[in-house]
């Protein structure tokens, strides 16, 4: 058991007794992952914030049913992902919020590229274009493929964990993941063929 895991289990135990302070510590640990998950799945920062908060709220209420011997993160991702998928199913029209994608990259993109020595303005611009295109492409995927891409590439879940989170067979995980990747690669081909190193 890592120290991090021990701390998390202590927070979970305390939060189950109604200790909101301990739950606040859990929120602090996972808020970035959950907010970014909902943001990438929904493409709208307001909706993402609302559903991410709702996910934590539901997790808090469901804590008494959480099996303490299981990892917490996939359980939390399941709540957030299913909230988003249900929400997307209710949305009448799929929306791809390019503005939201742009603003996110503007605020986070340049700061993130800390290890990049080639931070000339032109290179940064091209990289941001690539990030924006990638966000758009992810949002253009069917929600079920989008969710699998999210859980695999951004939350680092295994195939089996994704199957458990989404309640689908392993074969469906693979087909959605591979189709989604193929589509994304095609959507972004123009960036790579132009020798844009992003």
């Amino acid at each position: 058991m890592t120290q991090e895991g021990t701390a998390e289990q202590a927070w979970i135990r305390q939060a189950r007794t109604g200790d909101t302070q301990a739950f606040a510590a859990l929120v602090q640990k996972y808020q970035s992952a959950i907010y970014n998950l909902t943001y990438r799945l929904l493409g709208d920062s307001e909706e993402a914030k609302d559903l991410a908060q709702e996910a934590f709220l539901r997790a808090y209420r469901a804590l008494p049913t959480f099996q303490a011997d299981k990892p917490f993160a996939p359980w939390l991702y399941r709540i957030a992902t299913n909230l988003c998928l249900n929400w997307l199913a209710k949305r009448r029209l799929p929306t791809v919020s390019l503005d939201a994608a742009l603003s996110a990259d503007e605020s986070a993109g340049t700061a993130l590229e800390i290890g990049d020595h080639s931070s000339e303005p032109q290179a940064l611009l091209e990289r941001q274009e690539c990030h924006t295109a990638l966000r758009r492409a992810i949002l253009a995927l069917p929600p079920e493929q989008r969710a699998v891409i999210e859980l695999r590439h951004f939350q680092d879940l295994s195939y089996q964990e994704i199957a458990d989170v989404l309640g689908i067979p392993l074969s469906d995980v693979k087909s959605r993941l591979f189709r989604g990747r193929r589509w994304l690669a095609e959507a972004l081909r123009e960036f790579w063929s132009d020798d844009h190193l992003h």
Binding site: T2, Q3, E4, A7, A10, W11, Q14, A15, T17, G18, Q21, A22, F23, A24, A25, V27, Q28, Y30, Q31, S32, Y35, N36, K49, D50, Q53, E54, F56, L57, R61, A62, L63, P64, A104, S107, A108, G109, A111, L112, E113, I114, G115, H117, R127, H131, L134, I149, H153, D156, K174, L177, F178, R181, R182, L184, A185, L188, R189, W192, L197, H198
Partner: protein, 523 residues
Amino acid sequence: MTTCTECEELYNLYLDGLLTIEEEARMQAHLAACPACRRALSDLPQLFAALDRLPEAPVPADFLAGVLGRLAVPPAAAGQRLPVPSPRRAPGTTVSARLGTLRQGLAGLGEWLGRSLLPRPVPRRLARVAVALAIVLALVLAGGGLSAAAAQSQPSDPLYGVKLALEQVQLAAALNDTARADTYFRLADTRLQETAQMAQAGRVDLVSGLVGEYERDLQNGLTLAQQAQAQGQDVSSLLARFQERLRRQQALLEATRERVPGPGQPDIERAVNAHQRGYAQVLTLAGEASPVSVAAPTPSATATAAPPTASPTALVAMPTAAPLPTATPVPPTPVPATAARPPLTPTPSPTPTAPPTATPTAVGPQPVQIAWSSPGVSAIVAPGASYVVNVSFSSVTPLRNVSLVVTSPLDRYATVSPASFASVAAGAANAVQVSIAVPAGTKPGLVTGMVLLQVEGQPVAPGLKVHLTVARPSGAAVVPPTPTEVEATPTATPSPTPGMTPTSAPSPSPSPGHNPGHAGRGR
């Protein structure tokens, strides 16, 4: 014979590090013979890298406060779950059931109203307003004298439900967090008075539910006060009012404790603990606020013995047993010989009735708030090369005994310098150098991990994410190489970092057809 469809699947699995040697050989053979697949799949490694490098969106500043604000009712702990009310239950038999039913019903109504009026999830505040309007309408229809009579009702009275509904109206009508916090504390007063009256009347069956509500109202009030303070509001007068109420509650608890029949005593002890916790939190908050008109309590041994990290910080801090302040110090109530319980006023030694959340467990909630200059670092380093990146972190509060650790398996490749800070000043940027060295012969793949800050040995979120892609060794590849955003100088020699040994033997067949794999996910 491997088909193109199978090859695509194999290649995906390969990038995820899930192929057996035999499967990899089949894939390689197909790729070598199929230019179409080589072309079709050539973009995937670049897609992986692009996904890895997609920046994280910053979390809205008020995110945590919003979550806490939406926590209306804590989850019932095992054994404390509210009983499910029966529709035929006689009125007044189970206060907790009635309270629970009413609040759930109101919350449901508000949610329903909100969601049916608006196309997206609505803020809880709107839902509360809808609830208030509904209740006011109901009360008007029921007649004006009702509310006055209800306000005087006791948990055993038929009108008690109306009293609770009126309280919800008051909560909903509160204009801001400070007003709502005040209301919650007033409700806590009311619940405690009812507790005392029910205990005196011998209705021990009602005491447990009332104490539960008392705990929740106290906690809700405190959470709102914390929120208001975190948002920069002046909460000093609010905290002074809290203290005054808590002081009066203390006297009531002392008296009730002496009168309650045996079966009700555990519930009263629970209330005493909640009261002590609440007082400790108020003191903590007051310690952060600008000079408050708070009667400075005499520091107790437990308070002064608390380590520096247990001192109040922005959101979560709960001293174990802060003294109960009284304007005029009240001596501990003499404890009857029959009772082994401690006096309400904490003694310098930790009281055995200290609640679980207040005991110094191995890992308490960390109130520490830190931020990294970047949420993550992404580097592509070839075997035999090294790479150095500079980042920094800052903390909202001053910290002591800070250490930095690299999580496994990244720790085989990355080290941080400095690895510890004796102290960290609030708000200052603390430079940290992350050095990555990939030994020659390391198999290509993805290694993810974190640089984690520990304060007094306890990890603090968020960590600095590190995505290290061990690049393919130089040589021809079947699949075009992944473009590198952060490419280490290939001429560099591996740093002679202790413990940095190759994680795997060189690939058994580093044929020209070898490929860029993301074997590091290892699932």
